[in-house]
Symmetry: C2
Subunit: 239 residues, 2 copies
Amino acid sequence: MDIPSKEGFLSNIAYDSVIFGFSGNTLKILILEYHNTGFFALPGGFVKIDEDLNDAVKRGLKERTGLDKIFLEQFYTFGKTSRKDSAAMETILKANGFKVDKQSWLLDRFISVAYYALINYEDVSPQPDELSDSINWYPIDELPPLIFGHDEIVKKAIQTLRDNLERKLVGINLLPSKFTMKELQQVHEAILNKKLRRTTFQRKMLGMEILERHEKQFSGKAHKAPYLYSFNKVTSGQQ
Amino acid sequence: MDIPSKEGFLSNIAYDSVIFGFSGNTLKILILEYHNTGFFALPGGFVKIDEDLNDAVKRGLKERTGLDKIFLEQFYTFGKTSRKDSAAMETILKANGFKVDKQSWLLDRFISVAYYALINYEDVSPQPDELSDSINWYPIDELPPLIFGHDEIVKKAIQTLRDNLERKLVGINLLPSKFTMKELQQVHEAILNKKLRRTTFQRKMLGMEILERHEKQFSGKAHKAPYLYSFNKVTSGQQ
DNA sequence: TTTTATTGTCTCAATTTATTACAATAATAC
DNA sequence: GTATTATTGTAATAAATTGAGACAATAAAA
């Protein structure tokens, strides 16, 4: 079988996406594993000749998660020559039954534009692409080693998410449309990896005047029921 | 004359740099003008096949400014298809006496990784490249219209600089190694485009404990001489 | 010697943030 | 039913930060 054609894609340019979800009080990332190689990597892809870069990333996310409108933000472009790993790529292609030509565009060097996405964990059942075996959620502190320098990309994604958390209140994008104050606090705690003070957190969130209060949620627990909140404006990093 | 050869450069990838300087109490940017076209643009360039992206940008800056170690930070990668302007590029090439081939790589679409640099205005005498006529400082609120979507790049660069100013105290990189508190305040005011309170500003800067105080500067003015300060740790966005 | 303009620092007020306290429940245990 | 338990929402107070003004200390000029 021949390698997928380069036709229609830009050369030397790729994107990678760090897709965050929140479940079991833990921040998780979608990682894919390539068929019969033991190689793990971030989901990524290429840009079509006549496609906006951001649209290419959205297209890839749609294919992987089925989701259309999600929080998505570009955070860095990685361009070190050391990122190239032809041997790993060759292994992956061979494991997928492709005939490998030394001149193949896939063995070439790519500069990768990295994005992070925030999605509601419950909304997705991730789909692997044709080269990969599986795509699964991994807690951010239990990631397998990643190829193609993707470890560094994840590290910077987490740092960016932390930096943006307060300024843009991005954590909301990891929750369902209605959530309790406690859930929001747990998201913040998972991202920052530290405990926050309940009263201060609550006052700060309400003080921002971007939360809308709804009916109470009767949890069945032996205590006062919490209110549900939703976000009352669009916070999207999409340009 | 034939168009410069594509040989040795990555395809579809370029970089653009927004180079800030501070002079006459005003924030300025280096803008180049192409020979006989009336077209203005940011200085940019291409990445060699076996060159790190960051190194390519540093190389370009060195050629334009003669400076080696300067504050440089990547801030966004622009990838809209609408950025392509083959007509303008063709005009530029013709004005430089090149035979233009419709297939030329220079007429192709580029995804541009944008960087901003902060330099000490007095340290440079900018050099135009072979395609351009001149390279000059322009106050940020008196820029000519720029081609290739560079207006948008400048806008985002200024916004990034503002966002980073307090967090990273980047303004220092626009000054000589020794400076007065007043000069530092003027840099901040130029970047934020608003007046700051002298006493509050001074207390905040000194409170950060990253300034070192030196001997007084005798300015020849009829008042108390100010201390000189320098920055006591490296603040570089270089990766 | 006095005047002028600016600098460095202090004080007090205003605002913001942290911490504690406590009343209000929704279910449970008796 | 009534007391108990585990939260939640909010108010009250303390601590920290920031804003605004005051003032003494000059370096040079008048």
